[in-house]
Subunit: 217 residues, 2 copies
Amino acid sequence: MNRANRSRTNLSRKRIVRKAVALAAKGGFDSVSMRSLADKLSTAPMSLYRHVANKEDLLDGMVDVVFSEMYPPAIGGDWKSELRKRGTSARAALQRHPWAIGLMETRMHPGPASAVHHNATMGCLREAGFDFRDAVHAYNLLDSYTYGFALGENTIPFETPEESAEMAKTTVADRGADYPYLAEVVVELGKRGYDYNEEFKFGLELILDGLEQFLHS
Amino acid sequence: MNRANRSRTNLSRKRIVRKAVALAAKGGFDSVSMRSLADKLSTAPMSLYRHVANKEDLLDGMVDVVFSEMYPPAIGGDWKSELRKRGTSARAALQRHPWAIGLMETRMHPGPASAVHHNATMGCLREAGFDFRDAVHAYNLLDSYTYGFALGENTIPFETPEESAEMAKTTVADRGADYPYLAEVVVELGKRGYDYNEEFKFGLELILDGLEQFLHS
DNA sequence: CGTTGATTGCGTACGGCGTACGCATCTGGT
DNA sequence: ACCAGATGCGTACGCCGTACGCAATCAACG
Protein backbone atom coordinates (compact mmCIF):
# COMPACT_ATOMS: atom_id res chain seq x y z
CA MET A 1 0.00 0.00 0.00
CA ASN A 2 2.35 2.57 1.25
CA ARG A 3 5.23 1.56 -0.88
CA ALA A 4 3.09 0.01 -3.55
CA ASN A 5 3.29 3.06 -5.73
CA ARG A 6 6.98 3.54 -5.13
CA SER A 7 8.34 3.20 -8.61
CA ARG A 8 10.13 -0.08 -8.75
CA THR A 9 13.36 0.86 -10.35
CA ASN A 10 14.32 3.59 -7.94
CA LEU A 11 17.20 1.52 -6.75
CA SER A 12 20.20 0.89 -8.90
CA ARG A 13 23.81 0.00 -8.33
CA LYS A 14 24.88 3.48 -9.31
CA ARG A 15 22.48 5.23 -6.99
CA ILE A 16 23.48 2.98 -4.12
CA VAL A 17 27.20 3.48 -4.66
CA ARG A 18 26.78 7.24 -4.95
CA LYS A 19 24.83 7.44 -1.72
CA ALA A 20 27.40 5.28 0.00
CA VAL A 21 30.19 7.64 -1.02
CA ALA A 22 28.15 10.62 0.13
CA LEU A 23 27.38 8.93 3.41
CA ALA A 24 31.05 8.12 3.99
CA ALA A 25 31.93 11.73 3.27
CA LYS A 26 29.44 13.04 5.78
CA GLY A 27 29.52 10.53 8.59
CA GLY A 28 32.78 8.69 8.19
CA PHE A 29 33.46 5.28 6.80
CA ASP A 30 32.12 3.39 9.80
CA SER A 31 28.76 5.02 9.35
CA VAL A 32 28.35 3.17 6.06
CA SER A 33 26.46 0.06 7.01
CA MET A 34 24.00 -1.74 4.82
CA ARG A 35 21.35 -0.74 7.31
CA SER A 36 22.14 2.96 7.49
CA LEU A 37 22.65 3.10 3.75
CA ALA A 38 19.25 1.56 3.21
CA ASP A 39 17.77 4.15 5.54
CA LYS A 40 19.29 6.96 3.52
CA LEU A 41 17.72 5.48 0.41
CA SER A 42 14.38 5.04 2.18
CA THR A 43 14.40 1.34 1.61
CA ALA A 44 15.06 -1.86 3.51
CA PRO A 45 18.51 -3.29 4.12
CA MET A 46 17.97 -6.44 2.12
CA SER A 47 16.74 -4.54 -0.89
CA LEU A 48 20.25 -3.40 -1.59
CA TYR A 49 21.35 -6.95 -2.22
CA ARG A 50 19.41 -7.06 -5.47
CA HIS A 51 21.88 -4.57 -6.93
CA VAL A 52 25.05 -5.31 -5.03
CA ALA A 53 26.41 -8.78 -4.38
CA ASN A 54 27.60 -8.01 -0.87
CA LYS A 55 29.35 -5.29 1.03
CA GLU A 56 32.67 -6.09 -0.61
CA ASP A 57 31.07 -5.44 -3.97
CA LEU A 58 29.75 -2.14 -2.70
CA LEU A 59 33.27 -1.15 -1.66
CA ASP A 60 34.52 -2.05 -5.13
CA GLY A 61 32.05 0.43 -6.52
CA MET A 62 33.00 3.14 -4.06
CA VAL A 63 36.69 2.70 -4.83
CA ASP A 64 36.04 3.04 -8.52
CA VAL A 65 34.40 6.39 -7.90
CA VAL A 66 37.64 7.57 -6.33
CA PHE A 67 39.71 6.27 -9.23
CA SER A 68 37.47 8.17 -11.57
CA GLU A 69 38.45 11.39 -9.80
CA MET A 70 42.15 10.92 -10.42
CA TYR A 71 43.75 12.52 -13.46
CA PRO A 72 44.83 9.83 -15.94
CA PRO A 73 48.18 10.89 -17.41
CA ALA A 74 48.36 11.34 -21.17
CA ILE A 75 50.23 8.54 -22.87
CA GLY A 76 53.08 9.98 -24.89
CA GLY A 77 53.02 13.46 -23.40
CA ASP A 78 55.64 15.08 -21.19
CA TRP A 79 55.81 12.25 -18.70
CA LYS A 80 57.18 14.28 -15.83
CA SER A 81 54.50 16.93 -15.83
CA GLU A 82 51.80 14.37 -16.57
CA LEU A 83 52.83 12.30 -13.60
CA ARG A 84 53.03 15.41 -11.46
CA LYS A 85 49.45 16.20 -12.35
CA ARG A 86 48.46 12.62 -11.68
CA GLY A 87 50.16 12.58 -8.29
CA THR A 88 48.64 15.85 -7.20
CA SER A 89 45.14 14.87 -8.25
CA ALA A 90 45.49 11.43 -6.70
CA ARG A 91 46.40 12.95 -3.37
CA ALA A 92 43.52 15.37 -3.65
CA ALA A 93 41.10 12.54 -4.34
CA LEU A 94 42.38 10.56 -1.37
CA GLN A 95 42.07 13.67 0.75
CA ARG A 96 38.44 14.04 -0.30
CA HIS A 97 37.83 10.35 0.41
CA PRO A 98 40.09 9.34 3.28
CA TRP A 99 38.15 6.13 3.82
CA ALA A 100 39.37 4.90 0.43
CA ILE A 101 43.06 4.81 1.23
CA GLY A 102 43.18 1.38 2.75
CA LEU A 103 40.87 0.00 0.10
CA MET A 104 42.29 1.22 -3.20
CA GLU A 105 44.97 -1.41 -3.55
CA THR A 106 42.99 -4.22 -1.96
CA ARG A 107 40.22 -4.71 -4.49
CA MET A 108 39.91 -8.09 -6.11
CA HIS A 109 37.61 -6.84 -8.86
CA PRO A 110 38.79 -3.47 -10.14
CA GLY A 111 36.14 -1.39 -11.82
CA PRO A 112 36.32 0.37 -15.18
CA ALA A 113 37.75 3.65 -13.90
CA SER A 114 40.51 1.73 -12.17
CA ALA A 115 41.41 -0.04 -15.38
CA VAL A 116 41.51 3.20 -17.34
CA HIS A 117 43.66 4.87 -14.76
CA HIS A 118 46.21 2.10 -14.36
CA ASN A 119 46.47 1.66 -18.09
CA ALA A 120 47.10 5.36 -18.61
CA THR A 121 49.75 5.55 -15.90
CA MET A 122 51.57 2.46 -17.06
CA GLY A 123 51.37 3.63 -20.64
CA CYS A 124 52.77 7.03 -19.73
CA LEU A 125 55.78 5.40 -18.12
CA ARG A 126 56.42 2.93 -20.93
CA GLU A 127 56.26 5.64 -23.60
CA ALA A 128 58.55 7.81 -21.51
CA GLY A 129 61.24 5.25 -22.15
CA PHE A 130 61.12 2.97 -19.13
CA ASP A 131 61.30 -0.69 -20.00
CA PHE A 132 58.71 -2.96 -18.48
CA ARG A 133 60.55 -3.79 -15.28
CA ASP A 134 61.59 -0.22 -14.59
CA ALA A 135 58.13 1.07 -15.33
CA VAL A 136 56.77 -1.26 -12.68
CA HIS A 137 59.43 -0.03 -10.30
CA ALA A 138 58.60 3.57 -10.98
CA TYR A 139 54.88 2.93 -10.71
CA ASN A 140 55.28 1.21 -7.39
CA LEU A 141 57.49 3.95 -6.08
CA LEU A 142 55.09 6.70 -7.07
CA ASP A 143 52.01 4.95 -5.77
CA SER A 144 53.60 3.78 -2.56
CA TYR A 145 54.58 7.34 -1.79
CA THR A 146 51.21 8.74 -2.71
CA TYR A 147 49.16 6.24 -0.75
CA GLY A 148 51.56 6.29 2.16
CA PHE A 149 51.44 10.05 2.30
CA ALA A 150 47.68 10.07 2.17
CA LEU A 151 47.62 7.45 4.90
CA GLY A 152 49.69 9.63 7.18
CA GLU A 153 48.02 12.84 6.24
CA ASN A 154 44.48 11.72 6.82
CA THR A 155 44.95 9.78 9.98
CA ILE A 156 47.32 12.04 11.79
CA PRO A 157 46.46 11.85 15.49
CA PHE A 158 46.41 15.59 16.10
CA GLU A 159 44.03 17.49 13.91
CA THR A 160 42.79 20.13 16.28
CA PRO A 161 45.12 22.29 18.36
CA GLU A 162 43.71 20.94 21.60
CA GLU A 163 44.22 17.34 20.53
CA SER A 164 47.73 18.26 19.57
CA ALA A 165 48.32 19.81 22.96
CA GLU A 166 46.84 16.81 24.73
CA MET A 167 49.05 14.48 22.79
CA ALA A 168 52.08 16.65 23.41
CA LYS A 169 51.45 16.29 27.08
CA THR A 170 50.91 12.55 27.26
CA THR A 171 53.70 11.82 24.82
CA VAL A 172 56.37 14.16 25.92
CA ALA A 173 55.70 15.94 29.14
CA ASP A 174 56.80 13.23 31.55
CA ARG A 175 59.60 11.80 29.53
CA GLY A 176 60.34 14.66 27.15
CA ALA A 177 63.90 14.93 28.33
CA ASP A 178 64.55 11.36 27.24
CA TYR A 179 63.34 12.03 23.71
CA PRO A 180 64.57 15.48 22.76
CA TYR A 181 64.15 15.09 18.99
CA LEU A 182 60.65 13.74 19.36
CA ALA A 183 59.80 16.54 21.76
CA GLU A 184 60.96 19.06 19.21
CA VAL A 185 58.64 17.61 16.61
CA VAL A 186 55.60 17.64 18.85
CA VAL A 187 56.26 21.15 20.06
CA GLU A 188 57.17 22.69 16.71
CA LEU A 189 54.40 21.02 14.79
CA GLY A 190 51.92 21.97 17.46
CA LYS A 191 53.08 25.55 17.08
CA ARG A 192 53.09 26.10 13.35
CA GLY A 193 51.26 23.08 12.04
CA TYR A 194 51.75 21.38 8.74
CA ASP A 195 51.64 22.54 5.19
CA TYR A 196 50.65 19.29 3.59
CA ASN A 197 50.76 20.66 0.09
CA GLU A 198 54.39 21.69 0.38
CA GLU A 199 55.12 18.49 2.23
CA PHE A 200 53.72 16.32 -0.51
CA LYS A 201 55.31 18.35 -3.26
CA PHE A 202 58.77 17.92 -1.74
CA GLY A 203 58.61 14.16 -1.95
CA LEU A 204 56.91 14.01 -5.31
CA GLU A 205 59.48 16.34 -6.87
CA LEU A 206 62.37 14.42 -5.35
CA ILE A 207 61.02 11.16 -6.70
CA LEU A 208 60.34 12.54 -10.18
CA ASP A 209 63.83 14.02 -10.35
CA GLY A 210 65.27 10.72 -9.21
CA LEU A 211 63.35 8.87 -11.89
CA GLU A 212 64.55 11.31 -14.54
CA GLN A 213 68.14 10.77 -13.53
CA PHE A 214 67.59 7.05 -13.57
CA LEU A 215 66.08 7.24 -17.03
CA HIS A 216 69.07 9.13 -18.45
CA SER A 217 71.71 6.88 -17.00
CA MET B 1 34.91 -23.81 42.53
CA ASN B 2 36.18 -24.81 39.19
CA ARG B 3 38.10 -21.69 38.59
CA ALA B 4 38.57 -20.96 42.24
CA ASN B 5 42.10 -22.24 42.22
CA ARG B 6 42.99 -20.50 38.99
CA SER B 7 45.73 -18.18 40.10
CA ARG B 8 44.30 -14.71 40.02
CA THR B 9 46.99 -12.77 38.28
CA ASN B 10 47.20 -14.90 35.20
CA LEU B 11 45.92 -12.04 33.14
CA SER B 12 47.97 -8.98 32.45
CA ARG B 13 48.08 -6.29 29.82
CA LYS B 14 51.28 -7.73 28.41
CA ARG B 15 49.97 -11.27 28.16
CA ILE B 16 46.78 -10.05 26.51
CA VAL B 17 48.59 -7.90 23.97
CA ARG B 18 51.02 -10.70 23.14
CA LYS B 19 48.23 -13.17 22.56
CA ALA B 20 46.39 -10.66 20.43
CA VAL B 21 49.42 -10.22 18.17
CA ALA B 22 49.85 -13.98 17.93
CA LEU B 23 46.19 -14.42 17.14
CA ALA B 24 46.35 -11.77 14.42
CA ALA B 25 49.37 -13.50 12.94
CA LYS B 26 47.63 -16.84 12.79
CA GLY B 27 44.07 -16.01 11.94
CA GLY B 28 44.18 -12.54 10.45
CA PHE B 29 43.26 -9.25 11.98
CA ASP B 30 39.53 -9.79 11.80
CA SER B 31 39.86 -12.87 13.96
CA VAL B 32 40.97 -10.69 16.85
CA SER B 33 37.79 -10.02 18.75
CA MET B 34 37.53 -9.57 22.46
CA ARG B 35 35.59 -12.79 22.53
CA SER B 36 38.02 -14.94 20.56
CA LEU B 37 40.93 -13.40 22.39
CA ALA B 38 39.35 -14.27 25.71
CA ASP B 39 38.84 -17.81 24.47
CA LYS B 40 42.51 -18.12 23.60
CA LEU B 41 43.36 -16.97 27.09
CA SER B 42 40.85 -19.37 28.63
CA THR B 43 38.94 -16.57 30.25
CA ALA B 44 35.77 -14.61 29.76
CA PRO B 45 35.48 -11.66 27.37
CA MET B 46 34.79 -9.10 30.04
CA SER B 47 37.78 -10.14 32.08
CA LEU B 48 40.03 -8.48 29.56
CA TYR B 49 38.60 -5.10 30.37
CA ARG B 50 40.31 -5.10 33.75
CA HIS B 51 43.65 -4.79 31.98
CA VAL B 52 42.76 -2.95 28.81
CA ALA B 53 40.54 0.10 28.65
CA ASN B 54 38.83 -0.91 25.42
CA LYS B 55 39.67 -2.39 22.06
CA GLU B 56 41.37 0.80 20.93
CA ASP B 57 43.72 0.52 23.86
CA LEU B 58 44.45 -3.06 22.90
CA LEU B 59 45.36 -1.91 19.39
CA ASP B 60 47.70 0.70 20.86
CA GLY B 61 49.52 -2.09 22.60
CA MET B 62 49.68 -4.26 19.51
CA VAL B 63 51.06 -1.41 17.42
CA ASP B 64 53.77 -0.76 19.96
CA VAL B 65 54.90 -4.35 19.62
CA VAL B 66 55.43 -3.75 15.92
CA PHE B 67 57.36 -0.54 16.56
CA SER B 68 59.58 -2.45 18.93
CA GLU B 69 60.55 -4.75 16.06
CA MET B 70 61.82 -1.92 13.87
CA TYR B 71 65.51 -1.02 13.94
CA PRO B 72 65.98 2.40 15.53
CA PRO B 73 68.71 4.21 13.59
CA ALA B 74 71.79 5.30 15.54
CA ILE B 75 71.87 9.02 16.13
CA GLY B 76 75.08 10.45 14.75
CA GLY B 77 76.12 7.41 12.71
CA ASP B 78 76.29 7.13 8.93
CA TRP B 79 72.79 8.37 8.31
CA LYS B 80 72.36 6.78 4.92
CA SER B 81 73.18 3.26 5.97
CA GLU B 82 71.33 3.68 9.27
CA LEU B 83 68.20 4.75 7.45
CA ARG B 84 68.60 1.93 4.98
CA LYS B 85 68.67 -0.52 7.84
CA ARG B 86 65.70 1.16 9.41
CA GLY B 87 63.71 1.09 6.18
CA THR B 88 64.45 -2.54 5.54
CA SER B 89 63.56 -3.63 9.04
CA ALA B 90 60.42 -1.51 9.05
CA ARG B 91 59.20 -3.17 5.91
CA ALA B 92 60.03 -6.56 7.34
CA ALA B 93 58.07 -5.80 10.48
CA LEU B 94 55.07 -4.63 8.48
CA GLN B 95 55.33 -7.77 6.40
CA ARG B 96 55.24 -9.89 9.54
CA HIS B 97 52.28 -7.91 10.83
CA PRO B 98 50.24 -6.78 7.84
CA TRP B 99 47.31 -5.89 10.06
CA ALA B 100 49.39 -3.10 11.59
CA ILE B 101 49.87 -1.04 8.46
CA GLY B 102 46.68 0.95 8.67
CA LEU B 103 47.07 1.40 12.41
CA MET B 104 50.65 2.57 12.90
CA GLU B 105 50.07 6.20 12.06
CA THR B 106 46.61 6.42 13.55
CA ARG B 107 47.30 5.91 17.22
CA MET B 108 46.31 8.67 19.59
CA HIS B 109 48.39 7.29 22.46
CA PRO B 110 51.75 6.10 21.16
CA GLY B 111 53.51 3.57 23.35
CA PRO B 112 57.08 3.63 24.58
CA ALA B 113 58.59 1.73 21.64
CA SER B 114 56.96 4.18 19.28
CA ALA B 115 58.48 7.12 21.13
CA VAL B 116 61.94 5.56 21.09
CA HIS B 117 61.73 4.80 17.41
CA HIS B 118 60.50 8.20 16.28
CA ASN B 119 63.03 9.95 18.44
CA ALA B 120 65.87 7.90 16.99
CA THR B 121 64.81 8.45 13.41
CA MET B 122 64.30 12.17 13.81
CA GLY B 123 67.59 12.43 15.68
CA CYS B 124 69.44 10.58 12.95
CA LEU B 125 68.16 13.02 10.35
CA ARG B 126 68.89 16.15 12.39
CA GLU B 127 72.44 15.03 13.15
CA ALA B 128 72.95 14.18 9.49
CA GLY B 129 72.64 17.86 8.79
CA PHE B 130 69.01 18.36 7.87
CA ASP B 131 67.45 21.39 9.50
CA PHE B 132 64.17 20.87 11.29
CA ARG B 133 61.89 21.50 8.34
CA ASP B 134 63.88 19.37 5.95
CA ALA B 135 64.19 16.57 8.47
CA VAL B 136 60.41 16.49 8.72
CA HIS B 137 60.22 16.43 4.93
CA ALA B 138 62.68 13.59 4.71
CA TYR B 139 60.96 11.66 7.47
CA ASN B 140 57.61 11.99 5.81
CA LEU B 141 59.01 10.94 2.48
CA LEU B 142 60.69 7.86 3.88
CA ASP B 143 57.74 6.77 5.97
CA SER B 144 55.16 7.47 3.31
CA TYR B 145 57.08 5.29 0.92
CA THR B 146 57.60 2.53 3.45
CA TYR B 147 54.01 2.37 4.64
CA GLY B 148 52.63 2.81 1.17
CA PHE B 149 54.81 0.02 -0.13
CA ALA B 150 53.78 -2.27 2.68
CA LEU B 151 50.18 -1.39 2.02
CA GLY B 152 50.47 -2.44 -1.58
CA GLU B 153 52.63 -5.43 -0.91
CA ASN B 154 50.47 -7.02 1.70
CA THR B 155 47.12 -6.45 0.15
CA ILE B 156 47.92 -7.18 -3.45
CA PRO B 157 44.87 -8.85 -4.96
CA PHE B 158 46.73 -11.71 -6.59
CA GLU B 159 48.82 -13.77 -4.25
CA THR B 160 48.30 -17.21 -5.59
CA PRO B 161 48.77 -18.07 -9.27
CA GLU B 162 45.15 -19.09 -9.62
CA GLU B 163 43.90 -15.86 -8.14
CA SER B 164 46.18 -14.02 -10.48
CA ALA B 165 44.82 -15.92 -13.42
CA GLU B 166 41.25 -15.32 -12.33
CA MET B 167 41.90 -11.63 -12.01
CA ALA B 168 43.67 -11.55 -15.34
CA LYS B 169 40.56 -12.95 -16.91
CA THR B 170 37.99 -10.69 -15.30
CA THR B 171 40.15 -7.60 -15.69
CA VAL B 172 41.57 -7.99 -19.09
CA ALA B 173 40.10 -10.79 -21.11
CA ASP B 174 37.02 -9.01 -22.40
CA ARG B 175 38.46 -5.58 -22.76
CA GLY B 176 42.17 -6.34 -22.89
CA ALA B 177 42.54 -4.76 -26.27
CA ASP B 178 41.33 -1.44 -24.88
CA TYR B 179 43.97 -1.43 -22.15
CA PRO B 180 47.15 -2.80 -23.68
CA TYR B 181 49.52 -1.49 -21.01
CA LEU B 182 47.38 -2.83 -18.21
CA ALA B 183 47.08 -6.15 -19.96
CA GLU B 184 50.85 -6.35 -20.18
CA VAL B 185 51.16 -5.84 -16.46
CA VAL B 186 48.65 -8.51 -15.58
CA VAL B 187 50.10 -11.02 -17.99
CA GLU B 188 53.77 -10.39 -17.19
CA LEU B 189 53.31 -10.25 -13.46
CA GLY B 190 51.20 -13.36 -13.55
CA LYS B 191 54.02 -15.06 -15.42
CA ARG B 192 57.09 -14.17 -13.41
CA GLY B 193 55.65 -12.71 -10.27
CA TYR B 194 57.14 -10.06 -8.08
CA ASP B 195 60.43 -9.74 -6.30
CA TYR B 196 59.30 -7.49 -3.50
CA ASN B 197 62.73 -7.19 -2.00
CA GLU B 198 64.23 -5.80 -5.17
CA GLU B 199 61.13 -3.70 -5.70
CA PHE B 200 61.38 -2.07 -2.30
CA LYS B 201 65.13 -1.59 -2.55
CA PHE B 202 64.78 0.30 -5.82
CA GLY B 203 62.58 2.95 -4.28
CA LEU B 204 64.44 3.17 -1.00
CA GLU B 205 67.79 3.63 -2.75
CA LEU B 206 66.36 6.24 -5.10
CA ILE B 207 64.94 8.19 -2.20
CA LEU B 208 68.11 7.99 -0.13
CA ASP B 209 70.19 9.15 -3.10
CA GLY B 210 67.79 11.99 -3.68
CA LEU B 211 68.03 13.04 -0.06
CA GLU B 212 71.80 12.96 -0.22
CA GLN B 213 71.83 15.22 -3.25
CA PHE B 214 69.39 17.51 -1.54
CA LEU B 215 71.58 17.65 1.53
CA HIS B 216 74.68 18.64 -0.45
CA SER B 217 73.02 21.34 -2.48
C1' DC C 1 43.46 -15.09 63.73
C1' DG C 2 39.32 -12.17 61.84
C1' DT C 3 37.81 -8.31 59.32
C1' DT C 4 37.77 -5.24 55.74
C1' DG C 5 38.65 -2.77 51.42
C1' DA C 6 40.66 -3.10 47.00
C1' DT C 7 41.59 -5.81 43.06
C1' DT C 8 40.41 -9.10 39.73
C1' DG C 9 37.29 -12.32 37.12
C1' DC C 10 33.04 -13.00 34.99
C1' DG C 11 27.56 -13.56 33.78
C1' DT C 12 24.05 -11.12 31.67
C1' DA C 13 22.25 -8.16 28.42
C1' DC C 14 21.85 -4.43 24.84
C1' DG C 15 22.21 -2.55 20.51
C1' DG C 16 24.77 -2.79 16.47
C1' DC C 17 26.54 -5.49 12.29
C1' DG C 18 26.39 -8.55 7.48
C1' DT C 19 23.49 -11.44 5.17
C1' DA C 20 20.83 -16.35 4.08
C1' DC C 21 16.36 -17.46 2.95
C1' DG C 22 11.95 -17.14 1.09
C1' DC C 23 7.67 -14.69 0.28
C1' DA C 24 5.13 -10.59 -1.80
C1' DT C 25 4.62 -7.48 -5.25
C1' DC C 26 5.19 -5.29 -9.57
C1' DT C 27 6.23 -5.22 -14.74
C1' DG C 28 6.71 -6.39 -19.51
C1' DG C 29 5.99 -9.80 -23.16
C1' DT C 30 2.78 -12.74 -25.17
C1' DA D 1 -5.45 -12.09 -19.38
C1' DC D 2 -1.81 -14.49 -18.13
C1' DC D 3 2.61 -15.78 -16.66
C1' DA D 4 7.69 -15.43 -15.88
C1' DG D 5 11.18 -12.84 -14.29
C1' DA D 6 12.77 -8.86 -11.80
C1' DT D 7 12.55 -6.33 -7.71
C1' DG D 8 11.58 -5.10 -2.79
C1' DC D 9 11.45 -6.57 1.79
C1' DG D 10 10.41 -9.21 6.68
C1' DT D 11 12.43 -12.41 9.61
C1' DA D 12 16.10 -14.50 11.81
C1' DC D 13 20.91 -16.10 12.89
C1' DG D 14 25.30 -15.57 14.63
C1' DC D 15 28.72 -12.45 15.11
C1' DC D 16 30.60 -7.95 17.36
C1' DG D 17 32.08 -4.27 21.42
C1' DT D 18 31.07 -3.30 25.90
C1' DA D 19 27.99 -1.18 30.17
C1' DC D 20 26.81 -2.81 34.51
C1' DG D 21 27.09 -5.08 38.72
C1' DC D 22 27.93 -9.15 41.55
C1' DA D 23 31.34 -12.78 43.34
C1' DA D 24 35.60 -14.48 44.45
C1' DT D 25 40.14 -13.54 45.90
C1' DC D 26 44.07 -11.28 48.02
C1' DA D 27 46.68 -7.71 51.12
C1' DA D 28 46.84 -5.15 55.08
C1' DC D 29 45.86 -4.30 59.49
C1' DG D 30 44.03 -4.82 64.23
